[in-house]
């Protein structure tokens, strides 16, 4: 069982407590993974017989922005 416990905050130094503890994700990696995902989705759409739907989604710009939920 993993217990969730809030990290202690040093109230004498709130600035330090709000500093990021990890480096932000490299955007380039995410873009590469997104491109890889789309390539796989397109290939699978072809197998499923839904290539036209995928192409229409692409034309509508559904894949122009990486959704926040994409990790």
């Amino acid at each position: 069982m993993a217990k969730t416990k809030e990290a202690p905050v040093d109230e004498t130094n709130l600035d330090a407590a709000t500093e990021p503890v990890a480096a932000p994700k490299v955007d380039g990696d995410r873009k590469a993974r997104w491109a890889q995902f789309l390539a796989q989705a397109e290939a699978q759409a072809s197998e499923r017989g839904t290539s036209e739907i995928f192409a229409a989604q692409k034309a509508r710009g559904e894949f122009d922005t990486i959704p926040d939920s994409f990790i």
Binding site: Q44, A45, G49, E52, A56
Partner: protein, 290 residues
């Protein structure tokens, strides 16, 4: 010593009670895939369902007694179970013995739900990704009350006229963010229909279409197991009982002793696959929200 008569004191001298006998859990989502598909739990990796891909050619002609032979053909179609859903955890002996709750029972209940929910989410996304029918809603989608009746009518038109058409229990799966349009439409319809919507919170059947509501974000643009889905912003319409969802052997629960740890490792898991057979793919509609 605890200090009484302050808001912040907590004392074992004062009475506390547990609100319920089980651990509290987050509200669970409605699961709908087993209502709209045939669920196959047989222990099989692949389910075959070949179909006639070139129909026989019927000719209407003046009586002559002669004919030309035309070829017919069959094509393989199959559902392959390629993915699994696993939820593991570990309950240490000291946790199980000293907890105020039955951790094994409560955690197992939660883990079973997590497997079941992810199974449901996978099936819904798989079906939507295989639907070959297409429809784009009027601007505003389902959130605009005036659109609902047109959308329902348009969707029914896509399956009308087939033997497996309207009479075969059409369904529509929308997300919770769409509900406002349905409620407003129902409430403005008056009398019994309005009362039903008000009393029950949601009118589940409109124009013969069973409307299922799932939480927002269930249709995803993401990978689930081996499958890549691009379903965010889309909804699913189809006919009940034509698609198959596979869960070979049902869901399994296992607990085991592991080296280096007291207590038990607990894991719940299940296998998943889903398929709209090729001949029915057009009866399932990938709805794009405008």
């Amino acid at each position: 010593m605890a200090t009484f008569n302050t808001q912040n004191s907590v004392s074992f001298a004062l009475r506390h009670k547990y609100f319920q006998a089980s651990l509290q859990q987050a509200i669970r989502n409605q699961l709908v895939s087993s209502d709209i598909t045939k669920v196959d739990t047989s222990n099989l990796k692949t389910i075959e369902n070949p179909y006639i891909s070139t129909d026989g050619t019927a000719t209407t002609q003046a009586v002559a007694g002669t004919y030309s032979v035309s070829a017919m053909a069959t094509t393989e179609d199959s559902l392959k179970v390629t993915d699994e859903i696993i939820v593991p955890t570990h309950i240490f002996d000291f946790e199980a013995k000293t907890a105020n709750f039955d951790l094994f029972a409560d955690f197992l209940d939660n883990m079973s739900y997590q497997v079941r929910y992810n199974w449901d989410k996978y099936v819904l996304n798989a079906l939507l990704s295989q639907a070959t029918g297409t429809y784009t809603t009027p601007a505003g989608g389902f959130t605009t009350p005036a659109n609902i009746q047109k959308i329902i009518g348009d969707l029914l038109g896509k399956v009308a006229g087939y033997a497996n058409g309207i009479g075969n229990n059409p369904f529509l799966v929308v997300e919770s963010t769409d509900v406002t349009g349905f409620i407003q439409m129902a409430m403005s319809s008056g009398f019994n229909y309005a009362d039903a919507a008000l009393n029950n919170g949601f009118a589940g059947n409109i124009g013969g279409v069973d409307v299922y509501v799932i939480r927002g974000g269930t249709f995803v643009t993401a990978s689930m197991g081996s499958q890549s889905f691009t379903n965010s912003g889309h909804r699913l319409f189809g006919l009940k009982g034509l698609a198959v969802s596979a869960n070979p052997g049902g869901f399994t629960y296992d607990e085991k002793m592991v080296s280096g740890k007291t207590g038990r490792e607990v894991v719940a898991y299940g296998y998943v696959g889903a398929k709209i057979w090729a001949v029915h793919a057009g009866l399932f509609v990938n709805i794009t929200l405008a």
